[in-house]
């Protein structure tokens, strides 16, 4: 059973396109996160949701819009993709905001913008 799953695993697209990445967790966790890992392997928090409510929104271009239809899902929509958006995007979840240290990560979505 996959705890945190992401789709798609790979995404290759042209500059200017709009794309979405989906994340689902079946752990019953309240809190979910999106991270971006760039080519230098730096992992940075982008967004965090707790019970469908946005609690962390780091300095991310507003072309990135997260959406949490329910607490088991946190999707990421990206408008007008740019070359610099190429990275691996990881979704993660934790029991609650206090348990941030014990996050479970998804397998990642490798995005390549051409």
């Amino acid at each position: 059973d996959t705890a945190v799953s992401q789709t798609p695993k790979y995404l290759v697209t042209q500059m200017g396109n709009d794309k979405s990445i989906k994340c689902e967790q079946n752990l019953g966790h309240d809190t979910m996160y999106w991270y971006k890992q760039d080519s230098k392997k730096f992992l940075k928090i982008m967004f965090s949701y707790n019970n469908k409510e946005l609690i962390i929104n780091e300095t991310v271009p507003n072309r990135f819009s997260p959406k949490s239809p329910d607490k088991a899902h946190l999707n990421l929509h990206i408008n007008s993709l740019e070359l610099g958006d190429s990275a691996v995007y990881f979704c993660a979840s934790s029991q609650d905001r206090e348990s941030i240290g014990t996050q479970y990560f998804g397998p990642g979505t490798r995005l390549l913008v051409l």
Binding site: K40, K41, L43, I45, F90, R97
Partner: protein, 111 residues
């Protein structure tokens, strides 16, 4: 601004060697420090450290935290090729309830 710095950035050793990876941090309202191992895909959890001076151990891996000097080390003894990975250090800053990651140490163990 919250900051986590890892060193070295990369390391190549031979099987059987012992390695020490370093992590120093400056964050607001420290809560915990975490070590992760990342192979091909997602980071996997290794240790969470909250108290100074208490060593956490799991097999050949061990880690310790010094909250006065604001750093942690991760030791791996008798390294094996399967230890080759990126080792990530992250610090939980209670303000904002977020994890701040270091850039990672790329470890390669040669047979």
């Amino acid at each position: 601004e919250d900051k986590v710095v890892q060193s070295p950035l990369s390391l190549v050793v031979h099987e059987g060697d012992t390695v020490t990876l370093n992590c120093s941090y400056e964050v607001t309202n420290f809560r915990s420090l975490l070590w992760y191992k990342q192979e091909k895909k997602a980071p996997t959890f290794l240790f969470m450290l909250t108290s100074s001076g208490i060593e956490k151990k799991s097999g050949r891996l061990s880690s310790i935290l010094d909250k006065k000097e604001l750093f942690s080390i991760l030791n791996i003894t008798a390294t094996q090729t399967g230890d080759s990975a990126i080792y990530l250090c992250a610090v939980e800053a209670s303000w904002g309830n977020k994890l701040v990651f270091g850039a990672g140490t790329i470890l390669r163990v040669k047979s």
